[in-house]
Structure formats: structure tokens, C-alpha cells
């Protein structure tokens, strides 16, 4: 016999119960929401570090500085030599004039201060930006670059990239711990909310059991209650994260040119999906944990 339980009835029961347990429901939503906001914060920080590492070209790139007073032919020959190295993908030649232009641009309205350095007064060297594809070969490439005649210095940004990477890892580690602890707290609060809801309806549940209602009919409203708590929390958390992020995007970091902030539109789907999945799962786990004995028979 196919059973057709009225879904609207079951979900209606969940909303009624949430409303009746107002304070506990609010507590559940608040705690789960805080948890999600913290998770979201950590994830967004890590996303942005990744984006910045990429933007700054810290990965897989070295800069070779060329001796002053080299002739154009000598510089050209250095470029050919670098190009012939294994693993090198691209060599970009930045002349000293271009480098000065770059400085002027970065200085904005004070750019004119560099004007007197133009031409023969330019103290900047020509540079080669060397891109390579295999990070593990970085030290070999650096060694080879160091031994090309006419190159006086090689800046290996691997070290910076590595430092940033380890910072990122520690942030992730802290984030995971926060996540774990806060999720446990959330589940604990949800378990208590649902237990209160079960207690408020214990006579109803008893009658349902004697009548022969299936375990699912009895427990589904409570599981829906957990899901609703999860959905509400993720919705509000998303809104708050969005507002904070937008504030930082427009006001917070605009003064620092070095750092680019990912536009929220690029990451909102990931954040929202993550929030909803974690929120709903936590809600379901919380409900089921408090309903084990009713799911049996």
C-alpha cells in the first residue's frame, strides 16, 4: 500500500513548532548563523590570498636584473640565453624606461617627481621577468640565471610565495578548528531545540505511536524543523557576509594598491551553496540526534 502523507501538513507542523519554541529557535538560528559567518570569513580570506598570490605573479616567476651600461646586443643575447633554458615558458623584457613609467604610474599625482630621472639619469636597470612552468625547478633556474654573464641579481619570489602559503595554511588550520567547535556548539543547541519541541508534543507523539503512525510521520516535522533552522541561518549569514564584504570592498582596502579584493559576484555562489549545505546538514544531524529513540519504533 502506497502511503501519501500530506507534505504541507508535515511542514506546517514544523513551522508551528518553531514558532511555539521561539526563544530556542532563535538561539539555534543565531548560533548556527555565527558559525557560518566565521566559516565564510575564513574561506573568503583564503580565496583572496589565493587571488592576490596569482595577481602578483608570485608563483612561477623570477626577475633577473641586468648590469647597467650593457649594449642592446648584449641584452638581446642574454634574452636568447634565458629563452634556451629548460622549463622557461616566457621571458618578458622590461626596459629601464618602461620600469620608470611603471613607477610614475603607481605614484599617481606625484608621478612628476620622477620626471628628472628620465633619459640617461634613469637609475633603474633593465629586467627580465622569467616565467617557468615547474615550481620544483625554481632553484635550478635561479642557479642558471645567476651564471649568465651580464645578470647581476636574480629575485626569486618563491620565498615570498612560500611564506604566504604557510600563512594561508595556518589560517586554514585555525579556520578548521573554529569550524569544528562552532559546528559542535550549533548541533548541541539544535539538539536541545528539537528536544524541547519533542517534549512540547510528547502526548501527541505518544498517541501517534499507539495509532500506528510510522516513525517517519512522527519524526519528519522535527527534521523539517532542523532543515528550516539551517536554511534560515544560512540565509541570514549570507546576507551579513555580503554586507560586510561589500563594505570592505568599497571602503576598507581601497587605499592599498598592492591588494586586490575579489568582487563578491565571483564568489557568491560558492559561499551561498556552502552555507546552505552546511546549514541544512547541521540541522538534519541535530534533529536526528535528538530523535533516535522515536525513529526506532
Amino acid at each position: 500500500m502506497k502511503k501519501r502523507y500530506s507534505l504541507t501538513y508535515l511542514i506546517g507542523e514544523s513551522f508551528k513548532s518553531l514558532w511555539r519554541n521561539g526563544v530556542m529557535s532563535l538561539a539555534s538560528v543565531t548560533v548556527l548563523m555565527s558559525c557560518l559567518i566565521v566559516i565564510g570569513g575564513f574561506v573568503l580570506i583564503i580565496f583572496n590570498i589565493n587571488a592576490n598570490v596569482k595577481n602578483l605573479g608570485l608563483m612561477n616567476e623570477m626577475v633577473a636584473f641586468v648590469d647597467y651600461k650593457l649594449t642592446d646586443e648584449e641584452i638581446e643575447s642574454i634574452k636568447t640565453q634565458i629563452n634556451e633554458l629548460d622549463d622557461v615558458v616566457e621571458v618578458i623584457h622590461v626596459t629601464k624606461d618602461e620600469a620608470l613609467e611603471g613607477l610614475k604610474e603607481n605614484a599617481g599625482e606625484f608621478g612628476d617627481a620622477y620626471a628628472e630621472l628620465e633619459g640617461d639619469e634613469n637609475p633603474l636597470p633593465d629586467t627580465f621577468h622569467v616565467k617557468y612552468d615547474d615550481p620544483s625547478q625554481a632553484s635550478t633556474i635561479k642557479y642558471q640565471l645567476d651564471h649568465i654573464e651580464g645578470i647581476y641579481k636574480v629575485n626569486n619570489r618563491m620565498q615570498v610565495a612560500k611564506t604566504i602559503d604557510s600563512i594561508k595554511n595556518s589560517i586554514s588550520l585555525v579556520g578548521i578548528w573554529f569550524l569544528g567547535i562552532l559546528l559542535l556548539v550549533s548541533i548541541f543547541v539544535i539538539v536541545n531545540t528539537i528536544k524541547l519541541a519533542v517534549f512540547a508534543r510528547r502526548s501527541e507523539i505518544e498517541i501517534m505511536r499507539y495509532i500506528g503512525a510510522s516513525g517517519w510521520f512522527i519524526t519528519l516535522p522535527f527534521i523539517f524543523e532542523g532543515i528550516i533552522i539551517g536554511l534560515l541561518s544560512s540565509g541570514v549569514a549570507y546576507l551579513i557576509v555580503w554586507l560586510i564584504y561589500r563594505y570592505i570592498e568599497t571602503n576598507g582596502m581601497s587605499g592599498i594598491d598592492m591588494i586586490t579584493i575579489l568582487p563578491f559576484s565571483e564568489i557568491n555562489t560558492v559561499v551561498l551553496a556552502g552555507f546552505v549545505i552546511i546549514g541544512v546538514l547541521t540541522g538534519i544531524i541535530g534533529s536526528c540526534a535528538s530523535l533516535r529513540k522515536y525513529l526506532k519504533a
Binding site: K3, E204, E206, Y210, I211, S214
Partner: protein
Amino acid sequence: MIDFKNVKKVYSNGVVALGGVDFHVDDGEFVFIVGHSGAGKSTLMKLLLREEIVTSGQVFVNNHDLTKMRNYKVPRYRRELGVVFQDFRLLPNKTVYENVAFAMRAVGTPAKKIRKRVPAILSTVNLYDKFDCFPSELSGGEKQRVALARALANNPKIIIADEPTGNIDPHMSMEIMNLLMKINRLDKTVIVVTHDQKLVDYFQKRVITLSDGKVVDDHVGGMFE
């Protein structure tokens, strides 16, 4: 059909509630189960409802072996029973109609069928005119009739009434008992647990007497000491 075969029930605290009970109830029978408090009546009820499992022996109800029944099959089994309690156990925030409809909804009856059947059952227990009342607006007898209607809602084969007249004045008790008789004539097995001697004597039905966890008497006719 109900069959108890040498049923023993010992609770985990060592209390022997039933010490070897044997009896058989045929389909369509009307049986009183009587005995002083502590005689084992409640345990017998719990075994019938498969709330508890026997320590040894066997319980068969409608060809189900309750001793071997898996937990997930219990809800479906309970739909073959209609239960009435001394304290009615109605949902206070639902009307008479909703209380009965609730029992049908809980087992997945389609809404259309519920709308059709609830008025019919309420008529059977002579409560049709009170369908819109809340339990608090009803007398004890009326509440018990709602409980009876609810027990009948899913058309069970067996009705089990645990002290159905315990909280009701004598006049109303007769009415409830007459209703149970009427239900019995509808070809349902009726088990009434009670210690109301007058009722038992009046109706002259089969009486099973329990004492200290054993069946001490089982005969048709009134009289119990």
C-alpha cells in the same frame, strides 16, 4: 485472534509481572480482563501493543508473532488495534473532528477518505453534533466516545480498552459499555481491562481474572472477587 502461550514477563529491575499466562481469544469475542492493581493487567496491555516484549513464551495477535516482530513492522501492526485509555488522551488543541481525522492522517489516509469517514464514525458513537467542540468543552463520557471514535478510525480488528470507565460517572459508564457492545456486534474483538465489578456482572461476558501475574479464573458470566 489473540493467543498468549505461557507468557512470562520479568522487568529489568527483577519484578515478575507475568508468571506464565495462557489464554486464547477468538475473533469477534468480548472479553473482560480483571484483577487488582499489580496483578499484571498493564503489562498484558503493553505486550499486546508490542510496547514490551515477553521474557519467555509467545504472543500471537492476528497471526503475527509479536515475540519475533521487527521494530519497523510495529507501526503497521498497531493499525490493526484500536486503543482507548482511562485518561482519554485526546489532543486538547484539536477539535473532536480533528482528533479523529488526526488518527487517519497519521497512517497516511488520503484527505478525501478522511472527510468521508470521520462524520460516519462520529455518528456511530453519537457525537456527530459535537464535531466542532474542543475536548475541554466535553463531559468525561463524551471525551471517551471521541477516544472510541478515534480507536475505530482506522478500522481495526481488535479494540483494546484500558479502564475505559475509570474516569467517568456510572451513568455514562453504561453508555460507553453499550457502545463497546455495539462495536463488538460489528464483528470486532473487544478487550476491556477494568475493575468495575458492577459492569462485569451486568454484561455477563467472558471474564479473565489475573492475580499476581497468573490467570486464576477464566469463565463466561459475571462474578469476580
